[in-house]
């Protein structure tokens, strides 16, 4: 029964980006796999205006997918939690606050069963909100306007057109080889 005791942890980080950028990253549940520590797969099953159903799989327990119900309030709050009535309770709540133009503060509260952090080392990082916030900081930095200026020798971007590479003034579309 000890594994069912909920554990809650909270941390805050300041980001050099608009709240909308942080919100876009956090409400894009399908791309959690790109940046969130120890996440092996993530996908969105269905999405409506302020509600989505997503699936997430952790490295610590491959092949076990957590189904999450996600609620998002534009640029302020993103909440993802496991479905009620299931054995493992898991919750991530992100609060986003604009602190200055081009800057925001994100507070993450994670809740999970006690053994996530104590007994199974693979989940320990998930239960450390600061590690997740640092990963978020790296991710949002790729959207921010703090890039060095000057003559661009080489640049790789990811957008609507897919992965693009600019080299010696010419733009190339990048395709996976395998």
């Amino acid at each position: 029964m000890i594994g069912r005791i909920p554990l809650s942890r909270k941390a805050t980080i300041s980001l050099q980006c608009e709240a909308a950028v942080a919100y876009d990253v956090l409400s894009d549940y399908g791309t959690y796999v790109d940046w969130m520590p120890l996440v092996q797969t993530s996908s969105v099953l269905a999405r409506e205006t302020n509600f989505a159903i997503a699936e997430i799989e952790f490295n610590a327990k491959p092949a076990h997918k957590f189904t999450l119900e996600c609620i998002h309030a534009p640029t302020q709050m993103v909440l993802a939690r496991s479905l009620s009535g299931h054995a493992f309770h898991l919750k991530m709540e992100w609060r986003i606050k604009t602190t200055a133009p081009g800057e925001c503060q994100v507070t993450l509260t994670v809740e999970g069963p006690l053994f996530f952090s104590v007994l199974l080392g693979g989940y320990a990082k998930f239960m450390s909100p600061m590690a997740t916030l640092r990963a978020l900081k790296s991710q949002v930095a790729t959207f921010a306007s703090t890039l060095p200026s000057g003559e661009v020798l080489l640049e790789i971007t990811d957008g609507e057109e897919g992965l693009m590479c600019t080299y010696k003034g010419k733009k190339y579309k990048m395709e996976p080889v395998i």
């Binding site: 950028v21 876009d24 996908s43 969105v44 099953l45 269905a46 999405r47 409506e48 205006t49 159903i53 189904t67 119900e69 479905l83 009620s84 009535g85 299931h86 900081k137 790296s138 949002v140 930095a141 790729t142 959207f143 921010a144 703090t146 890039l147 060095p148 200026s149 000057g150 003559e151 661009v152 020798l153 080489l154 640049e155 790789i156 971007t157 990811d158 957008g159 609507e160």
Partner: protein, 189 residues
């Protein structure tokens, strides 16, 4: 409250049609023995249902339907159950024409049945019902083209992807080369 998500490989209108065709429940809902519809108007249906899983139960239920989106149900009378209510929420599946069905169900069977045990049985029962629905919905005809063309509410158009930079190498005005990666700038020496 137990909540379960099922992915059904049929369009939303078909799934909604199956879930609101109450007379047919005994042919696909596991443990459903009998359904008698007692009254029906546009979006509200009252019925008596006999379920036989952990125990035989006869419930009078009221269903309220919002076409293709939501079905709410609640108990209006029952002998052995204190509370029974829930909902089916239908969402378009991402990336295909299927449906994601979110089922919520609360059952209060009284002090003799511990809640954790009831919830475990309910979850298993809802998982089985989801599989049965998936199978049964496939036997139903696809909607007529004009019905399929009706606008479906609460569907979100995909947001344009925000462009991001993964790597940048620049030559600054002072002639120094800099590499930007992961939010950090490194000078090339």
């Amino acid at each position: 409250m137990v909540k379960v998500v099922n992915q059904i490989d049929s369009v939303r209108s078909v799934v909604f049609g199956v879930l609101t065709d109450f007379d047919k429940y005994p042919s696909w809902v596991p443990g459903c023995e009998k359904v008698i519809v007692t009254s029906r108007n546009e979006n509200v249906t009252n019925l008596d249902i006999t379920l036989n899983s952990m125990k035989k139960l006869t419930l009078s239920l009221k269903f309220e339907c919002e076409p293709d989106v939501l079905i709410k149900f609640e108990m209006t009378a029952a002998a052995d159950v204190k509370a029974y209510f829930g909902s089916y929420r239908l969402m378009n599946s991402e990336g295909n024409n299927g449906t994601v069905l979110v089922t919520e169900l609360e059952l209060d069977a009284g002090p003799m049945a511990p809640k954790f045990m009831v919830d475990r049985i309910l979850k298993k029962s809802l998982d089985e019902s989801g599989k049965a629905l998936q199978k049964y919905a496939k036997t139903r005809p696809a909607p007529a083209p004009d019905a399929a063309a009706e606008p479906e509410p609460a569907v979100v158009s995909k947001k344009p992807k925000r462009s991001r930079c993964l790597l940048r190498v620049v030559k600054t005005d002072s002639g120094e080369e800099q590499v930007w990666y992961g939010g950090k700038t490194f000078a090339v020496r």
